[in-house]
């Protein structure tokens, strides 16, 4: 058992554990924090995959921005069963379905051709190169999307003198 494999298992336990917590937790805030835990685990996995920049971005965006915003909204939309949310009636079928999906994906993964299994690291400069030359247009579009989302969020949640 190499060191990276050990690290991998630990990280996957963190990720999956956090995820299970998100879907099973009674308390909304608990769920949020468990998500945060899971996503940090994901950041660790990125590191394992030699994608340092993305691990950084993951921590920054998810940990720094999204979780905060979600907590804000939870605070703003406080409801009575805040502390214990029950699940809806679809539990059995959803369980089966997601299990089925997991099975299908795993099956596809195992029976697929996976090449020669050598991890390589991407030079950071190459990433930047690729992002701004080959993927320049999607880059611009993504910034546009961000702008639109920003405006949209403001418009949608505006209170006051509409109608």
């Amino acid at each position: 058992m190499s060191a990276s494999l050990l690290v991998f298992f630990v990280l996957s336990i963190v990720c999956v554990g956090g995820a299970l917590g998100v879907v099973l937790a009674r308390n909304v805030v608990h769920a949020t924090f468990l998500l945060l835990l899971s996503l940090m685990g994901v950041a660790g996995v990125f590191l394992l995959l030699l994608a340092e920049f993305l691990a950084l971005v993951q921590v920054l965006i998810y940990g720094g921005a999204i979780t905060i915003v979600v907590l804000f909204v939870i605070m703003l939309t406080k409801s009575d069963d805040f502390h214990s949310m029950t699940d809806n009636q679809q539990r059995p079928i959803a369980f089966i379905v997601s299990l089925g999906l997991f099975g299908v994906l795993t099956f596809a993964a195992i029976t697929g051709d996976t090449g020669n299994n050598v991890r390589s690291s991407l030079k950071f400069a190459d990433l930047g190169d690729s992002l701004f030359t080959k993927w320049a247009i999607p880059f611009e579009v993504a910034s546009l999307i961000l702008l639109v989302a920003l405006i949209g969020a403001i418009v949608i949640s505006k209170q006051g003198e509409e109608e």
Partner: protein, 101 residues
């Protein structure tokens, strides 16, 4: 630690996120589970990128875009949830069934 490990991890996260989306009753929690699914996809993408021979940056670039879009989407979705809360008094999506027969 071959590529398959990462794929299975990604599949697991994705299925768990899917289960959460189908089962949870609060809109905010559904949003969190969607984030889970997106991250699972990211793991997959980056794994493919890392194990490619010769290495290509495509997977990582797309992962960047996914994170970007996810962030934008969370912002918008939360705005909608706030609006929903204002109109209905709760974020329970069981009560959002005006399109019922």
């Amino acid at each position: 630690m071959t590529l398959v490990y990462f794929q299975i991890l990604s599949a697991a996260l994705f299925s768990i996120g899917l289960y959460g989306v189908l089962v949870r009753r609060s809109a905010v929690l559904i949003l969190l589970c969607i984030e889970l699914m997106l991250n699972a996809v990211n793991i997959n993408l980056i794994a493919f990128s890392a194990y490619s021979e010769p290495i290509v940056a495509t997977g990582q670039v797309i992962a960047i875009f996914v994170i970007t879009i996810a962030a934008a989407e969370v912002g918008l979705a939360l705005a909608i949830i706030i609006n929903l809360f204002r109109n209905k008094g709760s974020v329970d999506i069981d009560e959002v069934d005006l399109m019922k027969w």
